[in-house]
């Protein structure tokens, strides 16, 4: 089974969508409309699910016909395909997902076959496992650390780059510069609070360097106090 590599797990689940319609709109259309209305990156509801490295959902309409001499085949249902790479065990991840976005899941998945009976984390885990497909290929693009630890590492790296840019001139200023550099570094270490994964850190799913990092590093270097 290729579902996990060390602490990284790759979930693929195919959730069958019921046949039928509501207000002259088929269920799969209703589902797709809702999915496509999701906002992206840090505002995506999936960013609220703990330990998510990367996840994706789409609707599989049918199997693809490759052209003759292949045999033309069709699926009995349309499927919501959900795939996710995350840190930790499948049970913990799905538990966390239910706790974070159960309202959204119920609204979204009510048109999937058999989902009506899902009303608890336990039932949700059971349902998703029934829909799970084992991965034959799983590329883990992340390291083996938890998401909060990885985000903290990103933050520290970026903060240190700012520190280096802003203090390298002190190297040329003799002993006075060395003392200043040491003091600045002590304030920097205080600022980054390296063992605290809760903060300060890189915001979940942010793809642009947040401005606060440079601002707080500058303030720490100049001794203006560690900003919040």
């Amino acid at each position: 089974m290729g579902n996990s590599i060390n602490q990284a797990y790759g979930l693929t689940a195919l959730l069958p969508i019921r046949h039928g319609a509501e207000n002259n709109e088929s269920f799969d259309k209703i589902l797709r409309d809702k999915l496509q209305a999701f906002s992206l990156l840090e505002t995506s509801p999936l960013a609220k699910v703990p330990n998510t490295y990367l996840s994706r959902a789409f609707i599989l309409n049918d199997v693809f016909y490759e052209g003759a001499p292949a045999i033309e085949e069709h699926l009995a249902n349309k499927y919501l395909v959900f795939s996710s790479n995350f840190h930790g065990s499948l049970d913990d991840y799905l538990q966390g997902m239910w706790e974070a976005i159960s309202g959204l899941l119920q609204d979204l998945l009510c048109h999937c076959v058999g989902f009506q009976a899902v009303d608890s984390a336990k039932a949700f885990i059971k349902y998703m496992k029934r829909c799970q497909v084992d991965n034959s290929l799983f590329f883990n693009g992340s390291n083996d650390k938890s998401l909060p630890e990885q985000l903290k590492a990103l933050y520290v790296k970026q903060a240190f780059i700012h520190f280096a840019y802003q203090t390298q001139h002190l190297r040329m200023q003799g002993e006075e510069g060395a003392a200043q550099l040491q003091a600045a570094f002590q304030r920097f270490v205080e600022l980054i609070d390296i063992d605290n994964f809760d903060g300060p850190s890189w915001p979940v799913a942010a793809t642009e360097v947040p401005a606060f990092i440079e601002q707080t590093v500058s303030a720490a270097i100049s001794g203006e106090g560690v900003g919040s």
Partner: protein
């Protein structure tokens, strides 16, 4: 089997960087067509003037057959032509041929600005007036000459033919020149003079144009191969370290590095021995560059270094070469580079500028000169993978990694350099303008840059987009080339380019971070051109191109 190319069929600018072959002055002309018949006749009228890739001595008019006499005088002025997609349409190429040109060429340079990073001050809205109506530029013509008189004479010959084609061919004006005038009818080019001497330098005073790719069939002189072919894994200071690139990387109709013919327009005779050319007028902000380098280098180096040494060393780190052309990979220290410079100046002085030198002295100088030339080219980065000598992001290393991106010889690729060997370009062109005021960005000075390649998208555009304006392939995140990168501005409008210079454990030099870097080079115009062979040029002129 040895590749035999018909040099008489290949336009000369593909094989010769004329500036290096004793043609220090040039003019670049652009034409608009408005009558297909007259335009075709104009092309035919120009044919006797077109310079081919055959030895330049053999092309002297009136000499008749190739005498093979190396001492013979070479042709005193050269002429080459190329066309835009719009130009070929006016010349009446059949629709089927027109549709067979690659997308990059069909779109032209302005439409590719997002790929090229031509934004901010490089945006086409700031280009010279001639480029403000890109649909009007149909034909490119270059003249290179041994001196101003020969340049004028050839220019007059061209003008005469333009007059004959009146009503169908117009020489476009709108090149910006010195003194703020933007109505010139040609773009002038000339080598940069420093202290009264002609040099191979561009306006930042780096020695330029040292390395160009070497392809199969290009030259019989296999010494030219060193540092110019593709790396074999052998000693880079010798011929064993390099193999000629496949001809099809630079000439259409020939086998390329993918072991196939490059994508080319139909019929085959239209593209065979032809190529694609990128023309770019690149302005150099000499004032910004000088100022930034002086200011930033104050923080660079160690306390024992003089201001000049700091400045020159940081300048070399940007380029990967010292101002005198010595590569950092071979000459990592200021002293060694100075020594190289002295040896080079002495050899060149005796060889070219000392009328009192004896034959024996000249022979010795020539030997030294040839060896130093190989020293300038015959290197790689294998002993310097961390960039301690030549930074990983230095200009010459980005634009020609010389095998530095090969991660071992075992693994997925049979030839690990395969991807890099498909990103080489022939660089042509000349500096333009005057930059004697070293504190100013104003005025009109820079480089007329031309790149010749079989695929603009795969070669030139890839280099520009991925290797100069981005850093991921070198594990440099989104860092840009210090010299050519399109550095931007922060929210307050301050220059925000950042470049990291790798540290050197051996000398104890820590990594150095350059921040607040402004854009040193800005695009001022250009387009994409097709360079036909002599055969194709005649067929275009005669209107007999037939793709069926």
């Amino acid at each position: 089997m040895t590749t035999q190319l018909d040099m008489h069929d290949i336009q000369g600018n593909i094989v010769f960087g004329y500036g290096k072959f004793g043609y220090p002055v040039g003019r670049y002309l652009f034409f608009k067509f408005s009558n297909g018949k007259k335009a075709r006749q104009f092309v035919l009228d120009l044919m006797p003037l077109i310079t081919t890739s055959a030895p330049l001595q053999a092309q002297k008019r009136g000499r008749g057959k190739d005498s093979g006499d190396a001492q013979a005088a070479k042709v005193s002025a050269t002429t080459n032509v190329a066309f835009t997609y719009g130009g070929l349409k006016w010349l009446g190429l059949p629709d089927q041929s027109m549709r067979s040109f690659p997308q990059d060429f069909r779109m032209g340079m302005q439409a590719r600005k997002a790929i090229l990073g031509d934004d901010g001050p490089s945006d086409p809205s700031h280009w010279d007036p001639i480029w403000q109506r890109p649909g009007d530029v149909h034909m490119f013509l270059s003249i290179n000459a041994v001196g101003p008189a020969q340049l004028d004479a050839r220019y007059a010959e061209i003008k005469q033919r333009v007059e004959q084609a009146a009503g169908g061919v117009e020489l476009l004006t709108g090149h910006r020149g010195p003194a703020g005038k933007a109505d010139l009818e040609y773009q002038a080019g000339r080598v940069v003079t420093v202290d009264g001497k002609p040099t191979a330098k561009e306006h930042f005073h780096y020695t330029d144009g040292i390395s160009d790719p070497f392809f199969k069939g290009q030259s019989k002189n296999d010494q030219d191969l060193i540092g110019a072919g593709k790396p074999t894994g052998g000693d880079p200071a010798t011929k064993a370290g390099w193999a000629a690139l496949e001809t099809g990387e630079f000439l259409l109709g020939h086998r390329d590095e993918a072991h196939e013919y490059p994508e080319a327009p139909q019929p085959r005779l239209l593209s065979y021995n032809g190529s694609f050319m990128v023309y770019r007028k690149l302005h150099e902000n000499v004032g910004k560059f000088s100022d930034y380098l002086t200011r930033t280098s104050e923080q660079y180096g160690s306390s024992g270094m003089s201001a000049e040494e700091r400045r020159e060393t940081l300048k070399a780190k940007f380029a990967g070469r010292w101002s005198n052309g010595a590569p950092l990979a071979t000459y990592p220290s200021y002293e060694e580079a100075q020594k190289f410079g002295k040896a080079w100046d002495a050899a060149v002085g005796t060889l070219f500028f000392d009328p009192s030198a004896t034959e024996k002295q000249k022979a010795a100088a020539r030997k030294e000169y040839e060896q130093l030339k190989i020293k300038r080219r015959g290197f790689d980065f294998n002993a310097d993978l961390s960039g301690a000598r030549c930074p990983v992001g230095a200009h010459v290393r980005r634009s020609n990694p010389r095998g530095a991106l090969q991660f071992g010889r075992k693994g997925a690729f049979e030839t690990p350099g395969a991807l890099v060997d498909r990103r080489r370009i022939l660089r042509r062109g000349l500096p333009y303008g005057d930059s004697s005021d070293r504190a100013s960005d104003d005025g009109d000075h820079g480089i007329v840059f031309m790149a010749i390649n079989a695929s603009i998208e795969r070669q030139f555009e890839f280099l520009q987009q991925q290797w100069l304006n981005y850093g991921n392939d070198f594990k440099l995140s989104n860092e840009k080339d210090a010299l050519l990168g399109n550095h931007g501005k922060d929210a307050e409008g301050n220059p925000s380019g950042r470049v990291a210079i790798n540290g050197d454990a051996e000398t104890g030099q820590p990594p150095f971070l350059c921040a607040g870097m402004p854009r040193f080079v800005e695009t001022r115009g250009g387009d994409y051109f097709f360079i036909p062979s002599l055969t194709a040029l005649r067929m275009i002129g005669e209107g007999i191109v037939d793709p069926t």
